[in-house]
């Protein structure tokens, strides 16, 4: 019996609306697959693009304990990248693509990575702010997607979120030391917060399509890939972290920032969304350098892939 595409689509939407999880080999509409590939390969590659500059902190971290902790975090981020790329690869397989294509898309600029990893992180204060607030922001968007309709992504996120909690606490610990430290240390920390504020607001993406011309949030909500809007996530972030930043006697570089009791909403100055577009399309202050770091690591390790990948063939032919 021939099943029409419409019937398949209805069945698919019923499964999603019933809270069933879609698995890699199940039938899915092309735009669901495309949305997942875009979302998950971007997420996966961002984990790796974040880990690369972060590993540069290992020799410079101030104590052995901090070195061990940041090394563990880097290893986790790489592991998250591995998990997520596996999820993306299984979705790409029917299209005849694999990890190699993900890498090529990254190098060519077709595959984007998170805005925060295009930015400068010159001081140890930045390392702390990244772990506390960037990972804090990531936790908010990742936990929102734990119930995603795509089973393998949800399972990957469950593992990832558990480890992110350690990252956030590692960040909190750095922040606490600096906040309770000397005048210079506090100034260093304040500088980092000032430097990262607009990137943190941008992290969640624009409120509506109006800011950047396009956004995938409507489709992703309909397919239950996500359950909250960019703005809802940003508001949660502000509620969670602004009072804590203030409690440490630090300031946020936005004089208009306040909680409006009437609308139960944070009012804040919009970041420059034109700038955001430039950053995520590879024109941020560190975009080229970070990508070069990735290309270098890929090329330096290519002999390993070659040696291990062909050993079975050479054994057979000899």
């Amino acid at each position: 019996m021939e099943i029409s595409t419409n019937e398949r689509m209805d069945h698919f939407m019923n499964r999603i609306n019933d809270g069933e999880k879609i698995e890699a080999d199940d039938w899915m509409p092309d735009d669901y697959r495309e949305a997942l590939i875009r979302l998950i390969s971007m997420h996966g590659i961002s984990e790796i693009m974040g880990a690369l500059p972060e590993k540069e902190w290992v020799p410079k971290a101030p104590t052995v304990y901090r070195k061990l902790a940041i090394m563990a975090k880097v290893q986790d981020e790489m592991g998250h990248g591995q998990l997520l790329l596996r999820v993306a690869e299984d979705l790409m397989e029917p299209l005849g693509k694999n990890r190699d294509d993900i890498m090529k898309d990254l190098f060519s600029g077709k595959l984007k990575f998170h805005n925060v990893f295009h930015m400068k992180a010159p001081t140890w204060g930045d390392a702390g702010v990244i772990a506390w607030l960037v990972d804090g922001a990531a936790i908010i968007s990742q936990t929102m997607m734990l119930g995603t309709s795509y089973g393998p992504y949800g399972r990957a996120l469950k593992r990832i979120c558990a480890e992110e909690v350690f990252h956030a606490q590692h960040g909190e610990s750095i922040i606490m030391s600096l906040a309770e430290g000397t005048k210079e240390q506090r100034a260093l920390l304040q500088d980092s917060i000032n430097r990262w504020w607009s990137s943190l607001l941008m992290f969640f993406g624009p409120r509506t399509n109006a800011e950047t011309g396009h956004s995938n949030q409507d489709k992703n909500m309909r397919y239950k890939l996500r359950t909250k809007t960019n703005e809802q996530l940003r508001q949660e972030f502000l509620t969670k972290y602004v009072p804590r930043v203030w409690a440490l006697g630090l300031t946020i570089p936005d004089p208009t920032l306040r909680f409006d009791a009437e609308s139960s909403e944070w009012k804040y100055q919009q970041p420059d969304w034109e700038e955001f577009k430039k950053i995520v399309t590879g024109h941020g202050p560190k975009s080229k350098e970070r990508l070069a770091l990735r290309v270098q690591s890929y090329e330096m390790n290519s002999w390993v892939r070659e040696a291990l990948g062909t050993c079975r063939i050479s054994k057979v032919t000899r």
Binding site: D25, G79, D90, N98, K104, G309, T310
Partner: protein
């Protein structure tokens, strides 16, 4: 740029593990590795940096027979009441008619124990 399309480096392995000796084997995730030995090393690195583990298995995905969506959905339609205790629930009422309590699952299982 190096192109490694179709390279044998990228083979999919599924990772299973047991938390303790008595726990059931659980699927963890999959990974890419060029051979079983590296798959095992990567499984340890990727999934057990923190958590307790008593045993780890890695299996090449192509060696696993998995179910298709159709096969899985067909499972939902099977009625197997005759195989399960819930298919015999009416007996409780019957025994009452004879002024007897129905033996529970525990009663039935516990017969031989001291």
């Amino acid at each position: 740029m190096v192109s490694e399309k179709g390279s044998l480096f990228y083979e999919v392995y599924e990772v299973f593990s047991k938390k303790t000796d008595t726990s059931a084997l659980q699927h963890q995730f999959s990974l890419l590795a060029p051979n079983q030995e590296l798959a095992f090393i990567m499984a340890k690195e990727n999934f057990f940096r923190r958590e307790q583990v008593a045993d780890i298995w890695v299996v090449k995905r192509e060696h696993i027979k998995r179910m298709s969506q159709e096969e899985k959905e067909a499972l939902n339609h099977l009625e197997k009441n005759y195989r399960e205790t819930k298919g015999y629930g009416y007996l409780k009422k019957k025994w009452r008619q004879y002024e007897q309590e129905q033996l529970t699952e525990k009663d039935i299982m516990g017969g031989g124990e001291g």
